[in-house]
Protein backbone atom coordinates (compact mmCIF):
# COMPACT_ATOMS: atom_id res chain seq x y z
CA UNK A 1 0.00 0.00 0.00
CA UNK A 2 1.24 3.49 -0.82
CA UNK A 3 2.18 4.96 2.58
CA UNK A 4 1.06 8.42 1.52
CA UNK A 5 -2.54 7.65 0.64
CA UNK A 6 -5.14 9.05 2.98
CA UNK A 7 -6.41 5.54 3.72
CA UNK A 8 -3.01 4.28 4.80
CA UNK A 9 -2.40 7.38 6.93
CA UNK A 10 -5.74 6.80 8.66
CA UNK A 11 -4.89 3.14 9.11
CA UNK A 12 -1.63 4.03 10.78
CA UNK A 13 -3.41 6.49 13.11
CA UNK A 14 -5.85 3.74 13.93
CA UNK A 15 -3.11 1.26 14.83
CA UNK A 16 -1.32 3.90 16.89
CA UNK A 17 -4.40 4.48 19.06
CA UNK A 18 -5.42 0.80 19.02
CA UNK A 19 -2.19 -1.21 18.76
CA UNK A 20 -4.07 -4.41 19.55
CA UNK A 21 -5.95 -4.57 16.24
CA UNK A 22 -4.63 -6.51 13.29
CA UNK A 23 -4.83 -4.04 10.41
CA UNK A 24 -4.38 -6.61 7.65
CA UNK A 25 -7.73 -8.15 8.61
CA UNK A 26 -9.61 -4.85 8.62
CA UNK A 27 -12.43 -4.27 6.15
CA UNK A 28 -12.35 -0.49 5.45
CA UNK A 29 -16.06 -0.39 4.72
CA UNK A 30 -17.22 -2.02 7.95
CA UNK A 31 -17.91 -0.12 11.17
CA UNK A 32 -15.00 -0.24 13.62
CA UNK A 33 -17.42 -0.74 16.47
CA UNK A 34 -18.67 -3.99 14.91
CA UNK A 35 -15.35 -5.16 13.58
CA UNK A 36 -12.89 -4.47 16.36
CA UNK A 37 -15.16 -3.64 19.31
CA UNK A 38 -14.35 0.06 19.22
CA UNK A 39 -15.71 1.67 22.38
CA UNK A 40 -16.27 5.32 23.28
CA UNK A 41 -12.69 5.74 24.51
CA UNK A 42 -11.25 4.23 21.29
CA UNK A 43 -13.50 6.53 19.27
CA UNK A 44 -12.30 9.55 21.23
CA UNK A 45 -8.64 8.55 20.81
CA UNK A 46 -9.10 8.05 17.08
CA UNK A 47 -10.97 11.36 16.68
CA UNK A 48 -8.25 13.17 18.65
CA UNK A 49 -5.52 11.66 16.46
CA UNK A 50 -7.36 12.54 13.23
CA UNK A 51 -8.11 16.07 14.44
CA UNK A 52 -4.49 16.69 15.40
CA UNK A 53 -2.86 15.06 12.37
CA UNK A 54 -4.99 16.81 9.76
CA UNK A 55 -5.57 20.02 11.70
CA UNK A 56 -9.35 19.78 11.47
CA UNK A 57 -12.04 20.39 14.07
CA UNK A 58 -14.29 17.46 14.84
CA UNK A 59 -17.41 18.15 16.88
CA UNK A 60 -18.64 15.50 19.28
CA UNK A 61 -21.70 15.02 17.12
CA UNK A 62 -19.44 14.20 14.17
CA UNK A 63 -17.70 11.17 15.72
CA UNK A 64 -20.17 8.97 13.86
CA UNK A 65 -18.52 10.12 10.64
CA UNK A 66 -15.41 8.22 11.71
CA UNK A 67 -17.37 4.98 12.10
CA UNK A 68 -15.37 3.10 9.46
CA UNK A 69 -12.06 3.74 7.72
CA UNK A 70 -13.88 4.47 4.45
CA UNK A 71 -16.25 6.92 6.19
CA UNK A 72 -13.34 8.61 7.95
CA UNK A 73 -11.54 8.99 4.64
CA UNK A 74 -14.53 10.74 3.06
CA UNK A 75 -14.94 12.97 6.10
CA UNK A 76 -11.30 14.04 6.21
CA UNK A 77 -11.26 14.66 2.45
CA UNK A 78 -14.35 16.86 2.78
CA UNK A 79 -12.89 18.84 5.69
CA UNK A 80 -9.54 19.33 4.00
CA UNK A 81 -11.27 20.54 0.83
CA UNK A 82 -13.35 23.01 2.88
CA UNK A 83 -10.18 24.31 4.48
CA UNK A 84 -8.84 25.01 0.98
Amino acid sequence: MDPDTLESRLLSLLTSVAPDIEPQNLDPARALREQVDFDSMDTLHFAAAVSKTFGIDIAETEYARLASLRAAEAFVRERLAAKG
Binding site: S16, V17, A18, P19, D20, I21, E22, Q24, R33, V36, D37, D39, S40, M41, D42, L44, H45, A47, A48, A49, S51, K52, I58, A59, E60
Partner: protein
Protein backbone atom coordinates in the same frame (compact mmCIF):
# COMPACT_ATOMS: atom_id res chain seq x y z
CA UNK B 1 18.61 -3.45 55.26
CA UNK B 2 18.51 -6.23 52.73
CA UNK B 3 15.28 -7.85 51.64
CA UNK B 4 13.81 -10.06 48.94
CA UNK B 5 11.48 -8.66 46.31
CA UNK B 6 8.80 -11.29 45.74
CA UNK B 7 6.24 -11.86 43.01
CA UNK B 8 2.99 -10.40 44.41
CA UNK B 9 -0.42 -11.87 43.73
CA UNK B 10 -2.11 -9.67 41.15
CA UNK B 11 -5.55 -11.16 41.60
CA UNK B 12 -7.44 -13.79 43.52
CA UNK B 13 -6.77 -16.45 40.94
CA UNK B 14 -3.19 -15.72 39.95
CA UNK B 15 -0.79 -18.52 40.81
CA UNK B 16 2.24 -17.77 38.68
CA UNK B 17 3.71 -15.47 36.05
CA UNK B 18 6.52 -15.54 33.52
CA UNK B 19 9.26 -12.98 33.98
CA UNK B 20 9.71 -11.19 30.66
CA UNK B 21 12.07 -8.32 31.37
CA UNK B 22 14.12 -6.71 34.11
CA UNK B 23 13.76 -2.92 34.07
CA UNK B 24 16.61 -2.36 36.55
CA UNK B 25 20.05 -3.95 36.58
CA UNK B 26 22.05 -4.96 39.64
CA UNK B 27 23.66 -1.83 41.05
CA UNK B 28 20.83 0.40 39.77
CA UNK B 29 18.48 2.25 42.09
CA UNK B 30 14.71 1.93 41.99
CA UNK B 31 12.35 4.43 43.56
CA UNK B 32 9.20 3.64 45.50
CA UNK B 33 6.40 3.16 42.94
CA UNK B 34 8.78 2.79 40.01
CA UNK B 35 8.46 -0.32 37.80
CA UNK B 36 11.18 -2.86 38.55
CA UNK B 37 10.29 -5.89 36.48
CA UNK B 38 7.76 -6.91 33.81
CA UNK B 39 5.90 -10.20 34.05
CA UNK B 40 3.48 -11.90 31.71
CA UNK B 41 0.25 -13.17 33.23
CA UNK B 42 -2.99 -14.40 31.72
CA UNK B 43 -4.09 -10.75 31.87
CA UNK B 44 -1.20 -9.57 29.73
CA UNK B 45 2.08 -7.87 30.55
CA UNK B 46 2.26 -6.15 33.91
CA UNK B 47 4.99 -3.89 35.25
CA UNK B 48 5.56 -4.64 38.91
CA UNK B 49 6.39 -1.58 40.93
CA UNK B 50 8.85 -1.46 43.76
CA UNK B 51 7.40 -0.73 47.18
CA UNK B 52 10.72 0.61 48.44
CA UNK B 53 13.45 3.06 47.57
CA UNK B 54 16.23 0.56 47.07
CA UNK B 55 19.24 -0.63 45.18
CA UNK B 56 19.07 -3.85 43.17
CA UNK B 57 21.68 -6.25 44.55
CA UNK B 58 20.95 -9.39 42.57
CA UNK B 59 18.36 -10.72 40.12
CA UNK B 60 17.32 -14.18 41.28
CA UNK B 61 15.08 -15.07 38.32
CA UNK B 62 15.95 -14.69 34.66
CA UNK B 63 13.62 -13.65 31.79
CA UNK B 64 11.66 -16.55 30.39
CA UNK B 65 11.25 -18.30 33.75
CA UNK B 66 7.78 -19.08 35.03
CA UNK B 67 7.56 -18.60 38.79
CA UNK B 68 4.92 -19.00 41.49
CA UNK B 69 3.39 -16.15 43.47
CA UNK B 70 5.63 -15.42 46.46
CA UNK B 71 8.85 -16.43 44.72
CA UNK B 72 11.80 -14.14 45.47
CA UNK B 73 12.67 -12.31 42.24
CA UNK B 74 15.51 -10.13 43.43
CA UNK B 75 17.52 -9.07 46.44
CA UNK B 76 17.24 -5.36 47.27
CA UNK B 77 19.17 -3.12 49.62
CA UNK B 78 16.76 -0.72 51.29
CA UNK B 79 17.78 2.52 52.92
CA UNK B 80 16.03 3.27 56.20
CA UNK B 81 12.85 1.68 57.46
CA UNK B 82 10.75 -0.55 55.28
CA UNK B 83 7.55 1.17 54.14
CA UNK B 84 5.52 -1.98 53.68
CA UNK B 85 5.57 -5.67 54.48
CA UNK B 86 8.56 -7.01 52.58
CA UNK B 87 6.98 -10.11 51.14
CA UNK B 88 3.85 -11.21 49.37
CA UNK B 89 2.20 -14.18 51.05
CA UNK B 90 3.71 -17.51 50.17
CA UNK B 91 1.64 -19.47 47.68
CA UNK B 92 -1.09 -21.66 49.14
CA UNK B 93 -3.73 -23.76 47.46
CA UNK B 94 -5.68 -20.57 46.83
CA UNK B 95 -3.30 -17.65 47.24
CA UNK B 96 -5.04 -14.86 49.11
CA UNK B 97 -5.23 -11.68 47.11
CA UNK B 98 -3.09 -8.84 48.32
CA UNK B 99 -5.29 -5.85 47.60
CA UNK B 100 -3.58 -3.53 50.04
CA UNK B 101 -0.43 -5.62 49.86
CA UNK B 102 3.10 -4.59 49.10
CA UNK B 103 2.01 -1.72 46.87
CA UNK B 104 0.28 1.07 48.70
CA UNK B 105 -1.78 2.36 45.79
CA UNK B 106 -2.48 5.83 47.13
CA UNK B 107 1.22 6.58 47.27
CA UNK B 108 1.95 5.80 43.65
CA UNK B 109 3.49 8.79 41.87
CA UNK B 110 0.70 10.55 40.00
CA UNK B 111 2.88 11.21 36.98
CA UNK B 112 2.96 7.52 36.18
CA UNK B 113 -0.77 7.48 35.51
CA UNK B 114 -0.59 10.03 32.73
CA UNK B 115 0.43 9.06 29.24
CA UNK B 116 -0.81 10.56 26.06
CA UNK B 117 -3.17 8.28 24.16
CA UNK B 118 -1.52 6.27 21.49
CA UNK B 119 1.95 6.41 22.94
CA UNK B 120 3.14 2.86 23.39
CA UNK B 121 5.50 2.10 26.27
CA UNK B 122 8.91 3.39 25.14
CA UNK B 123 10.81 0.14 25.30
CA UNK B 124 8.19 -1.96 23.47
CA UNK B 125 9.95 -3.12 20.37
CA UNK B 126 7.41 -5.89 19.84
CA UNK B 127 3.94 -4.73 18.88
CA UNK B 128 1.15 -6.01 21.15
CA UNK B 129 -0.52 -7.80 18.25
CA UNK B 130 2.81 -9.45 17.48
CA UNK B 131 3.31 -10.34 21.12
CA UNK B 132 -0.13 -11.91 21.29
CA UNK B 133 0.42 -13.81 18.06
CA UNK B 134 3.77 -14.97 19.39
CA UNK B 135 2.09 -16.34 22.48
CA UNK B 136 -0.55 -18.05 20.35
CA UNK B 137 2.10 -19.61 18.15
CA UNK B 138 4.37 -20.51 21.05
CA UNK B 139 7.21 -18.26 19.91
CA UNK B 140 9.27 -17.09 22.87
CA UNK B 141 10.17 -13.45 23.41
CA UNK B 142 13.87 -14.34 23.41
CA UNK B 143 13.54 -15.88 19.95
CA UNK B 144 11.74 -12.76 18.77
CA UNK B 145 14.36 -10.44 20.18
CA UNK B 146 17.15 -12.47 18.59
CA UNK B 147 15.24 -12.35 15.30
CA UNK B 148 14.56 -8.61 15.54
CA UNK B 149 18.14 -7.74 16.48
CA UNK B 150 17.03 -4.48 18.05
CA UNK B 151 14.49 -3.56 15.37
CA UNK B 152 10.72 -3.46 15.66
CA UNK B 153 8.85 -6.77 15.51
CA UNK B 154 5.60 -6.88 13.58
CA UNK B 155 3.01 -9.61 13.45
CA UNK B 156 4.33 -10.79 10.05
CA UNK B 157 7.77 -11.37 11.59
CA UNK B 158 6.24 -13.60 14.23
CA UNK B 159 4.41 -15.63 11.63
CA UNK B 160 7.55 -15.91 9.51
CA UNK B 161 9.52 -17.08 12.50
CA UNK B 162 6.81 -19.52 13.58
CA UNK B 163 6.59 -20.99 10.08
CA UNK B 164 10.28 -21.88 10.23
CA UNK B 165 9.91 -24.27 13.12
CA UNK B 166 7.49 -26.70 14.71
CA UNK B 167 6.08 -25.22 17.91
CA UNK B 168 3.89 -26.13 20.82
CA UNK B 169 0.60 -24.27 20.64
CA UNK B 170 -0.43 -22.21 23.62
CA UNK B 171 -3.69 -20.32 23.76
CA UNK B 172 -3.49 -16.85 25.32
CA UNK B 173 -7.21 -16.18 24.94
CA UNK B 174 -8.03 -19.52 26.48
CA UNK B 175 -5.82 -18.62 29.43
CA UNK B 176 -7.59 -15.30 29.96
CA UNK B 177 -10.97 -17.01 29.71
CA UNK B 178 -9.82 -19.52 32.34
CA UNK B 179 -8.72 -16.65 34.60
CA UNK B 180 -12.08 -14.91 34.31
CA UNK B 181 -13.84 -18.21 34.82
CA UNK B 182 -11.90 -18.93 38.01
CA UNK B 183 -12.55 -15.49 39.49
CA UNK B 184 -16.24 -15.53 38.65
CA UNK B 185 -16.70 -19.10 39.87
CA UNK B 186 -15.16 -18.02 43.18
CA UNK B 187 -17.49 -15.00 43.29
CA UNK B 188 -20.58 -17.10 42.67
CA UNK B 189 -19.45 -19.79 45.12
CA UNK B 190 -18.47 -17.52 47.99
CA UNK B 191 -20.43 -14.29 47.69
CA UNK B 192 -24.17 -14.18 48.42
CA UNK B 193 -25.01 -11.56 45.81
CA UNK B 194 -28.11 -9.41 45.90
CA UNK B 195 -29.15 -7.30 42.93
CA UNK B 196 -30.91 -3.95 42.61
CA UNK B 197 -31.61 -1.83 39.54
CA UNK B 198 -32.56 1.81 39.19
CA UNK B 199 -33.42 3.87 36.12
CA UNK B 200 -31.87 7.33 35.96
CA UNK B 201 -32.86 10.31 33.82
CA UNK B 202 -29.53 10.86 32.06
CA UNK B 203 -30.53 14.06 30.26
CA UNK B 204 -28.88 16.47 32.74
CA UNK B 205 -25.59 14.58 32.51
CA UNK B 206 -25.75 14.35 28.75
CA UNK B 207 -26.64 18.04 28.28
CA UNK B 208 -23.93 19.16 30.70
CA UNK B 209 -21.40 16.95 28.91
CA UNK B 210 -22.34 18.30 25.46
CA UNK B 211 -21.93 21.91 26.69
CA UNK B 212 -18.67 21.10 28.45
CA UNK B 213 -17.17 19.29 25.44
CA UNK B 214 -18.33 21.83 22.86
CA UNK B 215 -15.61 24.28 23.84
CA UNK B 216 -12.77 21.75 24.06
CA UNK B 217 -10.37 20.13 21.57
CA UNK B 218 -11.11 16.43 21.07
CA UNK B 219 -8.32 15.14 23.33
CA UNK B 220 -9.60 17.15 26.32
CA UNK B 221 -13.23 16.05 26.09
CA UNK B 222 -14.94 13.85 28.65
CA UNK B 223 -16.93 10.70 28.02
CA UNK B 224 -20.08 9.52 29.80
CA UNK B 225 -18.25 6.65 31.50
CA UNK B 226 -16.14 9.16 33.43
CA UNK B 227 -19.22 10.90 34.88
CA UNK B 228 -20.67 7.55 35.92
CA UNK B 229 -17.36 6.46 37.47
CA UNK B 230 -17.07 9.67 39.47
CA UNK B 231 -20.67 9.45 40.68
CA UNK B 232 -20.15 5.84 41.81
CA UNK B 233 -16.90 6.80 43.57
CA UNK B 234 -18.52 9.69 45.49
CA UNK B 235 -21.53 7.58 46.47
CA UNK B 236 -19.29 4.70 47.60
CA UNK B 237 -17.26 7.11 49.73
CA UNK B 238 -20.41 8.40 51.43
CA UNK B 239 -22.38 5.22 51.98
CA UNK B 240 -20.69 2.62 54.14
CA UNK B 241 -20.50 -1.03 53.16
CA UNK B 242 -19.65 -1.01 49.47
CA UNK B 243 -16.09 0.23 49.24
CA UNK B 244 -13.44 -2.21 50.46
CA UNK B 245 -12.72 -5.91 50.72
CA UNK B 246 -14.19 -8.99 52.30
CA UNK B 247 -11.14 -10.74 53.71
CA UNK B 248 -10.59 -13.31 56.46
CA UNK B 249 -14.30 -13.58 57.17
CA UNK B 250 -15.03 -9.88 57.57
CA UNK B 251 -15.51 -6.64 55.67
CA UNK B 252 -12.63 -4.19 55.70
CA UNK B 253 -13.79 -0.77 54.62
CA UNK B 254 -11.32 1.28 52.58
CA UNK B 255 -10.85 5.00 53.17
CA UNK B 256 -9.54 5.44 49.62
CA UNK B 257 -11.90 4.82 46.71
CA UNK B 258 -10.18 3.07 43.84
CA UNK B 259 -12.72 2.31 41.12
CA UNK B 260 -12.01 -0.72 38.95
CA UNK B 261 -12.94 0.07 35.37
CA UNK B 262 -13.95 -3.06 33.46
CA UNK B 263 -12.30 -2.75 30.06
CA UNK B 264 -12.90 -5.24 27.27
CA UNK B 265 -9.83 -6.79 25.71
CA UNK B 266 -10.14 -7.06 21.97
CA UNK B 267 -10.42 -10.63 20.80
CA UNK B 268 -12.17 -11.60 24.02
CA UNK B 269 -11.74 -11.16 27.72
CA UNK B 270 -11.89 -8.40 30.26
CA UNK B 271 -9.65 -6.67 32.75
CA UNK B 272 -10.69 -4.29 35.52
CA UNK B 273 -7.68 -2.20 36.59
CA UNK B 274 -8.20 0.61 39.07
CA UNK B 275 -8.68 4.34 38.70
CA UNK B 276 -6.99 5.43 41.91
CA UNK B 277 -8.66 7.91 44.29
CA UNK B 278 -11.51 8.40 41.82
CA UNK B 279 -13.63 10.22 44.41
CA UNK B 280 -10.99 12.91 44.94
CA UNK B 281 -9.99 13.64 41.34
CA UNK B 282 -11.69 16.26 39.23
CA UNK B 283 -13.28 15.10 35.99
CA UNK B 284 -10.46 16.15 33.63
CA UNK B 285 -7.89 14.33 35.79
CA UNK B 286 -10.07 11.24 36.04
CA UNK B 287 -10.57 11.33 32.28
CA UNK B 288 -6.80 11.47 31.69
CA UNK B 289 -6.25 8.53 34.04
CA UNK B 290 -9.04 6.57 32.36
CA UNK B 291 -7.66 7.34 28.93
CA UNK B 292 -4.16 6.26 29.95
CA UNK B 293 -5.54 3.08 31.48
CA UNK B 294 -7.37 2.12 28.30
CA UNK B 295 -4.23 2.92 26.30
CA UNK B 296 -2.21 0.58 28.51
CA UNK B 297 -4.84 -2.17 28.25
CA UNK B 298 -4.80 -1.82 24.45
CA UNK B 299 -1.00 -1.96 24.45
CA UNK B 300 -1.21 -5.06 26.67
CA UNK B 301 0.88 -3.46 29.36
CA UNK B 302 -0.56 -2.70 32.80
CA UNK B 303 0.98 -1.93 36.17
CA UNK B 304 0.78 -4.18 39.19
CA UNK B 305 -0.72 -1.49 41.46
CA UNK B 306 -3.63 -1.11 39.08
CA UNK B 307 -4.54 -4.77 39.39
CA UNK B 308 -4.62 -5.11 43.11
CA UNK B 309 -6.00 -1.73 44.09
CA UNK B 310 -9.69 -1.59 43.07
CA UNK B 311 -12.08 -1.27 46.01
CA UNK B 312 -15.31 -1.28 43.93
CA UNK B 313 -15.90 -1.82 40.19
CA UNK B 314 -17.94 -0.18 37.45
CA UNK B 315 -18.77 -2.08 34.28
CA UNK B 316 -20.58 -1.01 31.15
CA UNK B 317 -21.29 -2.42 27.72
CA UNK B 318 -21.27 1.04 26.19
CA UNK B 319 -23.47 2.34 23.44
CA UNK B 320 -23.82 -1.12 21.90
CA UNK B 321 -25.05 -2.53 25.16
CA UNK B 322 -28.46 -3.49 26.42
CA UNK B 323 -30.79 -1.86 28.95
CA UNK B 324 -29.53 -3.61 32.08
CA UNK B 325 -26.27 -5.35 32.91
CA UNK B 326 -26.38 -7.56 36.01
CA UNK B 327 -22.74 -7.74 37.06
CA UNK B 328 -20.84 -10.28 39.18
CA UNK B 329 -18.71 -9.02 42.07
CA UNK B 330 -14.94 -9.23 41.58
CA UNK B 331 -13.65 -10.73 44.85
CA UNK B 332 -12.46 -9.67 47.35
CA UNK B 333 -14.51 -6.55 46.54
CA UNK B 334 -18.08 -6.42 47.81
CA UNK B 335 -19.89 -4.36 45.17
CA UNK B 336 -20.03 -3.71 41.46
CA UNK B 337 -22.20 -1.31 39.47
CA UNK B 338 -23.29 -2.21 35.94
CA UNK B 339 -24.29 0.60 33.59
CA UNK B 340 -26.69 -0.23 30.77
CA UNK B 341 -26.73 1.58 27.44
CA UNK B 342 -28.29 5.05 27.58
CA UNK B 343 -31.47 4.92 25.45
CA UNK B 344 -34.37 7.25 24.70
CA UNK B 345 -37.26 5.92 26.76
CA UNK B 346 -40.69 7.04 27.95
CA UNK B 347 -40.35 8.91 31.26
CA UNK B 348 -42.97 10.46 33.50
CA UNK B 349 -42.24 13.85 35.04
CA UNK B 350 -44.78 16.03 36.80
CA UNK B 351 -47.57 13.81 35.48
CA UNK B 352 -46.44 14.17 31.91
CA UNK B 353 -45.07 11.52 29.61
CA UNK B 354 -41.88 12.64 27.94
CA UNK B 355 -38.97 11.01 26.09
CA UNK B 356 -35.68 11.08 27.98
CA UNK B 357 -32.29 9.42 27.63
CA UNK B 358 -32.42 6.80 30.39
CA UNK B 359 -29.53 5.02 32.07
CA UNK B 360 -30.31 1.92 34.09
CA UNK B 361 -27.82 1.18 36.84
CA UNK B 362 -27.65 -2.27 38.39
CA UNK B 363 -25.88 -2.99 41.64
CA UNK B 364 -24.59 -6.38 42.73
CA UNK B 365 -23.56 -6.30 46.37
CA UNK B 366 -22.44 -8.74 49.06
CA UNK B 367 -25.17 -9.79 51.50
CA UNK B 368 -22.53 -10.64 54.10
CA UNK B 369 -21.89 -6.90 54.33
CA UNK B 370 -25.07 -4.99 53.46
CA UNK B 371 -28.77 -5.41 52.78
CA UNK B 372 -30.97 -4.16 49.98
CA UNK B 373 -31.90 -1.05 51.91
CA UNK B 374 -28.30 0.16 51.96
CA UNK B 375 -27.90 -0.88 48.32
CA UNK B 376 -30.92 1.23 47.40
CA UNK B 377 -29.36 4.20 49.18
CA UNK B 378 -26.19 3.73 47.15
CA UNK B 379 -28.04 3.61 43.82
CA UNK B 380 -30.15 6.64 44.75
CA UNK B 381 -27.04 8.56 45.74
CA UNK B 382 -25.47 7.79 42.36
CA UNK B 383 -28.66 8.93 40.62
CA UNK B 384 -28.72 12.19 42.63
CA UNK B 385 -25.09 12.88 41.75
CA UNK B 386 -25.76 12.30 38.05
CA UNK B 387 -28.68 14.74 38.23
CA UNK B 388 -26.19 17.47 39.28
CA UNK B 389 -23.30 16.81 36.88
CA UNK B 390 -21.80 20.27 37.37
CA UNK B 391 -21.05 19.27 40.98
CA UNK B 392 -19.16 16.09 40.07
Amino acid sequence: MELEFRLPSLGADMESATLTEWLKKPGERVRHGEPLVTVETTKGLIDIESYEDAEVLEQLVQPGSKVAVGTALARLEVQGASQAPPAAPAPEATPPPAPMGPLAPASRPPASAVESPGTPPPRARISPAARRRAQELGVSLEELERFAAGGFVHIEDVEKLAAQRPVAHTDARGAMRATIGAAMARAKREIPHYYLAHAVDFAPAREWLARHNATLPVQDRLIEAVLITKAVALAAARIEGFNGYFLHGRFESSAAVHVGAAIAVRGGGLVAPALLDADRKDLPTLMRDFSALVTRVRAGHLRSGEFTAATITVTSLGAEGVDVLFPIINPPQVAIVGAGAVREQPWVRDGELIARPVLTLALAADHRVTDGRAGARLLRAIADLLAQPQAL
